[in-house]
């Protein structure tokens, strides 16, 4: 099947896709007592931990360089936005890795476009991401009331940020799902890479901070690192995501372009890998 045929089939089956997404969300909320609250507690706890370590203990967000370290907004808000974006990506990658194997009974008995099993995970994690936004809204409202943050029109960049993250997650997921179905060890590798990835994404620090520190003598390594991080598509997504709150920082259009190209690159690579591996996976699971 060609790319176009595959895409057409996916579009044709969009109703089933929504059924699958609903199913995922029902399962997630049917089992636990706290249900929806977990969607809030999880990223909140993560944010508080990082805020405690980096904000309270290391004092980021206070002192002379506070301004640059979190792009001129309170560190907690900077952090919470990054953590939410990261959570969607992280959960998607972890879950898509098991997407085919955990639903093998269904994959074996229904003739749906197999990509749906991946896309459904990304979408349901995306909806969970949207459901966890009240945390961000709360923090922003709190600091906006104290005039620590001024919201501006660049808030609209939030939408392309979501689209880009969706594309990226689907792309990465389309690689994850078939590969883990064939090679068990891959899950472990992915887990380690994700843990490293968290720190190689501007979540607890800003790219601008790396760049300014890199200007100082003997710190050129940081400049190189900043350069490398530009190729992390999540850098672009994070930057777009935070634009509405940033006043002094200008949008980094160059990084956005790189991020867009790389995200779509992942999408095409994912579709290629998936199409390539579909036959052997169906025999294995």
């Amino acid at each position: 099947m060609s790319f176009a045929q595959r895409l057409r089939r996916i579009v044709e089956y969009r109703a089933v896709l929504w059924t699958l997404v609903k199913r995922d969300l029902r399962i997630r909320y049917a089992r636990s007592v706290l249900g929806y609250l977990w969607t809030l507690i999880d990223p909140l706890a993560m944010t508080l931990v990082y805020w405690f370590v980096f904000g309270v203990i290391y004092g980021i967000g206070t002192g002379a360089s506070a301004e640059r370290r979190s792009d001129g907004i309170p560190f907690v808000v900077f952090l919470v936005a990054g953590v939410l974006v990261w959570n969607w990506f992280n959960n998607s990658v972890n879950e898509t890795a098991r997407a085919l194997y955990s639903e093998r009974l269904l994959v074996r008995s229904t003739n749906l476009p197999r990509e749906l099993w991946v896309i459904r995970v990304v979408l349901s994690k995306g909806i969970e991401h949207l459901l966890s936004l009240p945390i961000l809204v709360l923090f922003v409202a709190f600091f906006a009331a104290r005039h620590d943050i001024v919201l501006n029109w660049k808030l609209v960049y939030w939408i392309p940020a979501l689209v880009l993250e969706l594309v990226l997650c689907i792309g990465v997921g389309l690689v994850m799902a078939p590969v883990t179905a064939l090679v068990d060890d891959f899950v472990r590798i992915v887990r380690i890479v994700l843990r490293i990835g968290f720190y190689l994404t501007p979540i607890v620090y800003s790219l601008n901070y790396l760049r300014t520190r890199g200007q100082q003598p003997h710190e050129h390594a940081l400049l190189v690192i900043a350069r490398m991080l530009e190729f992390n598509p999540l850098s672009a997504i994070n930057d777009m995501y935070r634009q509405g709150m940033l006043v002094r920082a200008t949008p980094e259009y160059r990084i956005w372009l790189i991020g867009t190209v790389i995200s779509f690159g992942w999408l095409f690579f994912g579709m290629w890998v998936f199409a390539r591996l579909e036959k052997p996976i169906l025999k294995e699971i």
Binding site: L105, L106, S109, L182
Partner: protein, 290 residues
């Protein structure tokens, strides 16, 4: 018990077209290295050429099936029956040749695979129906039929988590949902004999009803009775090869004689043969009735 109406069956092919055409089909499986493939080998197959331990699960299979035919697949274990069924269902892809299925498929394979233990039976019916392409309205319309068919125990437990159902009940519900689909092709993999005798009878009636509507049936079974009851045509697979394709009785005869090595008597003639032997026994000298 009401069946989905015959005029609702969603045919995409024209009546004179074959519904399923299988052309020189082949599928190759790896042996020995299950779930431990080298990525390089799969992604860059062209570059590397070394010996792989493989066998052909199916090879050189060709046939066509028309509208309203009921085909029984026979063969001993490992003959490739389920593999062929899955390839018609589209859940396995051929390495060689092609399968062209022109109409939608209602797969009675892994019946309970789509059900989620944590959700209620009601939710599960909607989800599984949706997964097989039914809209919410379609399911609303047929909901009562589905539940009636599954039985009163299912009805009384509609809002209980599905995992509280006995395994028999679970399969009954699965059977009820899938046989409510409007798809013209029905694939059955050994799941006719589910539940107790009463339910089995209901299943048989429903299958017959579906066949009367002119749907196409593909049945994999080891049950001689089921095969002869439903199928008009048989295909005999042995070690991935198609040995014979003919009327169900002929194929059954060939298969049974191959398998057991003794002449096979169709069930319809069995009583007569039994009676004959009985009479001979009675007439034999020294026979004592007790």
């Amino acid at each position: 018990m009401s069946l989905p109406a015959a005029d609702k069956v969603k045919w995409k092919s024209t009546p004179d077209q074959p519904v399923i055409s299988v052309d020189n089909l082949g599928i190759e499986f790896l042996t020995g290295r299950k779930r431990n493939l080298s990525l390089r080998e799969i992604v860059f197959r062209r570059g590397t050429s070394y010996k792989k331990e493989t066998f052909w699960g199916l090879k050189n299979i060709s046939f066509t099936v028309g509208r309203g035919e009921a085909v029984g697949l026979v063969g001993s274990n490992g003959g490739g029956k389920s593999t062929l069924l899955k390839m018609i269902a589209g859940t396995l892809l051929p390495d060689e040749g092609a399968v062209n299925v022109r109409d939608g498929v209602a797969p009675l394979i892994e019946l309970t695979g789509g059900f989620i233990g944590e959700l209620s039976a009601r939710e599960n019916i909607y989800l599984t129906g949706g997964l097989h392409g039914m809209s919410k309205d379609d399911i609303d319309e047929r909901f009562d039929d589905i539940v009636d068919f599954a039985g009163p125990k299912v009805r009384s437990g509609l809002d209980l988590p599905y995992r509280h159902f006995s395994s028999g009940m679970q399969v009954r519900l699965g059977f009820a949902v899938i046989t409510c689909l409007d798809e013209p092709i029905i694939l059955v993999d050994e799941v006719l004999a589910v539940g107790d005798a009463a339910f089995r009878d209901k299943c048989y009636q429903r299958m017959e009803g579906l066949l009367e509507q002119g749907r196409t049936l593909f049945l994999v079974s080891h049950s001689e009775g089921d095969l002869l009851r439903f199928c008009t045509r048989g295909i005999y697979l042995r070690e991935g090869q198609m040995v014979a394709d003919g009327s169900m009785e002929e194929i059954m005869q060939q298969y049974m004689e191959d398998l057991l090595g003794v002449p096979w008597i169709p069930p319809s003639e069995r009583n007569a043969v039994d009676a004959l032997f009985n009479r001979r026994d009675r007439e034999a000298p020294g026979y004592k009735a007790d």
